[in-house]
Symmetry: C2
Subunit: 265 residues, 2 copies
DNA sequence: GAAATCAATTAGTACGTACATATACGGATA
DNA sequence: TATCCGTATATGTACGTACTAATTGATTTC
């Protein structure tokens, strides 16, 4: 890998000047590049709707290979921040929320992190339970396995109206990860990863419409019977071990779930 | 590119034997490889839960580079058919539907094709309309623009219980694409692409819970007020031109919407 | 003036190499 | 027996090169 130099190039379209430097030994290089690009988009260096510098220019400016730039761009394309057209260039896309509502259902693991970072999970209840009957089935474990059951409301970071009602079941072996947490400002599985050092490899997510239950409705400020989405998530560590099971109830009128599907080639 | 030869290798795990050959000039090579692998998974050559031959073995057996195999595997990983672990191998995943219900909300353009191919859209109504008021807003166009409005029920290919109620608005300039179609066995946008030669670059998809309307409920065999999901899709051609607008109403009890989020690295 | 043609530009595809890193397995050791 | 430690093996990362194909815009031609 060649040195990363501060490069100044004033092309016709956008200023590529950047003092970015690869870190020593953290994330893979292409992820660092992706974060760097995303940061500069957020900062306004690369305007929404405009074209990014070409892959070759970026590669030269950042001191990495074009392949690495392409991998980074690929990540951001998956997230919808960028779109590319052959013969034209790579366009900076608006991160939707056209109707002003916050995105709340993730489409990638990293997006789950981001959503959680923008919200607060206020834990209102916490108890050790033993999985029996229906719960054991939902958790896909033998009856009798112990889980820490916590419930609470998730608010936007500015503490406006509640977003969702949440219930979480955590494997007793890793439950200590959140023993001191009363307000979670990161994803619960993030605490678990930090505590165990083990990475969550896979999250299975299920979405279905439900009618809001009276008790829950009251807690998030709706009426019973109101429409809602229930999102269920199962978190698996290495070896497909279920570490966390959680579901949340999202009032239908407070969010929208938008995805953009783009052509692969 | 080296020649693709029929290779016979009986490794310990799985038989790689394959008479696959790259076509002359259709899809990119890595997509062909992806289709080939997917076909052999469906056929049972590679059992669900087992490990695929290694990337190097596949590359050699198919006469392509390891990078190309990796690209193909990457596509199938995105679709959830495969999962990979460093130091272990690439695992063939079950294509969910754990509860027997069919997947119905796509996560990629190609998946939309596949879903449409497994179902039939029986068109029951068809009329030219002029976009006014709310419709013009939904379509994001000036009032007065003409669209072909078609409605109908989508059934599984075997004509079991109805899946969904569908309404589609097609830009009058491309409406001729489906003028002879009474039962669509492919995606509507597929007809449009075929007719115009122009590719749909982007599809925006929105999901929200709704209560079923009496009229619609009757047509798909539910009761009014039943829970459902409404999926709205906007189809854009090149230059962000809206070519098709459609929504469908999916009864909550007949399907589930499951996604798997995997770690990026 | 309009249409066809050509050249430059840009992302996409495909190949190659080398090394990094996580995992599993077998053997040596306590 | 249980633990530790290499070794082999698999995917992951990063680099390189070369060519392909879609698009744009300028130029030529009718």
């Amino acid at each position: 890998m060649s040195d990363a130099i501060a490069v100044e190039m004033t092309s016709g379209k956008q200023d590529i000047k950047s003092d970015w430097k690869p870190e020593i030994a953290t994330a893979p290089l292409y992820m660092q590049v992706a974060h760097h690009l995303e940061a500069r988009i957020s900062k306004g260096d690369f305007a929404v709707g405009s074209l990014l510098p070409t892959e070759n220019e970026l590669a030269e400016a950042l001191g990495v290979s074009r392949q690495t730039v392409r991998q980074a761009i690929g990540l951001l394309r998956n997230k919808g921040r960028l779109s590319a057209r052959k013969g034209v260039g790579t366009r900076v896309e608006a991160i939707e929320a056209t109707n002003g509502s916050t995105r709340f259902i993730a489409q990638s693991r990293s997006e789950l992190f981001e959503i959680a970072a923008e919200t607060e999970f206020v834990i209102g209840y916490r108890e050790m339970v033993s999985a029996q009957g229906r719960l054991a089935v939902d958790l896909g474990c033998r009856p009798g396995r112990k889980f820490l059951h916590i419930t609470g409301v998730r608010y936007p970071a500015n503490r406006g109206r509640a977003f969702s009602w949440n219930e979480v079941y955590i494997d007793s072996r890793v439950a200590a990860a959140i023993k001191d947490v009363t307000v979670a400002r990161r994803a619960i599985f993030h605490y678990i990863e930090e505590f165990t050092g083990e990475k969550i490899h896979e999250i299975q997510q299920d979405v279905r419409p439900v009618a809001m239950d009276e008790d829950i409705a009251e807690k998030v400020g709706c009426k019973g019977g109101d429409l809602a989405l229930m999102v269920t998530r199962r978190y698996y560590g290495s070896g497909r071990r279920l570490l966390e099971y959680a579901f949340q109830i999202l009032p239908a009128d407070r969010f929208s779930y938008t995805t953009t599907l783009r052509a692969e080639n």
